[in-house]
Amino acid sequence: MSNDFYTTAILPHAGIIIKICRAYTDSQEDFEDFYQEACLQIWKSRTAFQDKSKWSTWLYRVTLNVCLTLAKKNTKRGYATEITNEASEDNKAFENENLNLLYKAIKKLSEVDRAIILLHLDENPHKEIAVIIGTSANNIAVRINRIKKQLKILLDGKIN
C-alpha cells in the first residue's frame, strides 16, 4: 500500500473509523489495534470498491466487519490501559464529558445495537443502515427507537 492511499483515501475519513473502533474497544492498545486492522483491511479490499456505493458507506462496512470479528485479547492482559481522556488526549472531542458518558452507554449495548446506533448517530438513513447490517429499513427504525430508550435509561442513571 502506498502512503498516498492512506493519506488521500483513508485519512480524510479517519473520523468514521475512530468513532466505530472506540465503541468496540475498552483500552487504548485495543483501540489502536482495531484502527490499524480496519485500515489494513480497507487497503487490502480497495480494488473491490465500486462507485455504486459511497466511499464512506464502504468504510463503515469494512470497519464494522473488522470490529465485529476481531479477537479481543486485552481481557487476558492485566495491564491494559483504559481509554481515558488522557489516553485520547490527541482527540479533544473525547474530552467532552457527555460524549464519554454516551460512549460508556453505547458499550453496554450488544455488538449489533452498537453498530446500528453509531450509524444512526452519524446520520445515515435507515435504508443505508439496513444495507450495511444486512436487514430491512423498517426493522432498523423499530430497533433504533428501542436502543434510544435503552440509552436514555442508562444515561439518566449515569450508566451502571
Binding site: L11, Y35, L68, L70
Partner: protein, 205 residues
C-alpha cells in the same frame, strides 16, 4: 441527561476533521491481526513445514534401505501438504466488504469447514495412512521395518490387528488433541459469532 443523544454526538463531533487518527507505523507491511488471518498464517507455516518432513522421511528411509515405505510415506506427506493448501484457499473467499450478516455467516462457514476438514483428517485419513503403512509393510515384510518385529509366518490378519490397535491409540490421542485445540482456538470466537448472527437474523425477521 437533558440533551438528546443525537445532540451530544453532533456537538462533540462538530468538526470531524479535527479527530486525530492513531499513529500507524509502516501500515503497508503490517500483518493482519484478525483471527482468520492469524489462523491462515499459522496454517501456512505449519503446512510448509511438511515439505522438509517429507524430505527427511525420504532420506531416513534411504539410509535404512526402506525405499518403498520411504517413498510411500513422503508421497503421503506431500499429499497432506496439497490437502492443506486447498483448505487454505477457502480463507480467500471471505469478502470483507459484504454486509455484516453475510460477512459473519461466511466467516462462520469457513470456521466450520476448516474444523470439519481437520476433524475428518484426524478421524479417517491419518488412521488409514497408518494402517496402509502396516499393510504395505506386510507385503514387503522381508525387507521392511516389520521384519524386526514379526516372524515370517505372521498372517495379514495379525498384522491388521496390530495396525488397528496402533490406529486406535493414534485416533484417541488425535481426537483429544483436536477437541482441546478447537476449544482453545475457536471456542470463544464461535460463541460470540453465533450470538451476533442470531441477533441480526432476529432483527431481520
Amino acid at each position: 441527561m437533558e440533551k438528546s443523544i443525537e445532540k451530544i454526538w453532533n456537538e462533540s463531533f462538530i468538526n470531524e476533521q479535527s479527530l486525530v487518527a492513531p499513529k500507524i507505523n509502516d501500515l503497508y507491511n503490517q500483518k493482519s491481526k484478525s483471527i482468520i488471518s492469524r489462523i491462515k498464517r499459522t496454517y501456512e507455516i505449519d503446512n510448509k513445514g511438511l515439505i522438509p518432513i517429507a524430505v527427511l522421511v525420504l532420506i531416513t528411509s534411504i539410509i535404512f534401505s526402506q525405499y518403498i515405505i520411504g517413498v510411500y510415506g513422503a508421497s503421503l506427506i506431500i499429499g497432506l501438504y496439497f490437502f492443506n493448501r486447498n483448505l487454505l484457499n477457502r480463507f480467500n473467499t471471505i469478502d470483507i466488504k459484504s454486509d455484516n450478516l453475510t460477512y459473519l455467516k461466511n466467516y462462520r462457514k469457513i470456521i466450520d469447514y476448516v474444523s470439519k476438514a481437520t476433524k475428518n483428517l484426524f478421524m479417517y485419513i491419518i488412521p488409514l495412512v497408518v494402517l496402509s503403512i502396516f499393510i504395505l509393510g506386510y507385503f514387503i515384510k522381508d525387507t521392511s521395518f516389520l521384519a524386526r518385529f514379526i516372524s515370517k509366518d505372521t498372517t495379514l490378519i495379525e498384522i491388521l490387528g496390530i495396525g488397528v490397535t496402533v490406529v486406535f491409540i493414534i485416533f484417541a490421542i488425535a481426537m483429544t488433541v483436536f477437541k482441546i485445540s478447537t476449544k482453545i482456538l475457536y471456542g470463544t470466537l464461535i460463541s460470540k459469532l453465533d450470538d451476533i448472527i442470531k441477533e441480526i437474523e432476529e432483527l431481520k425477521q
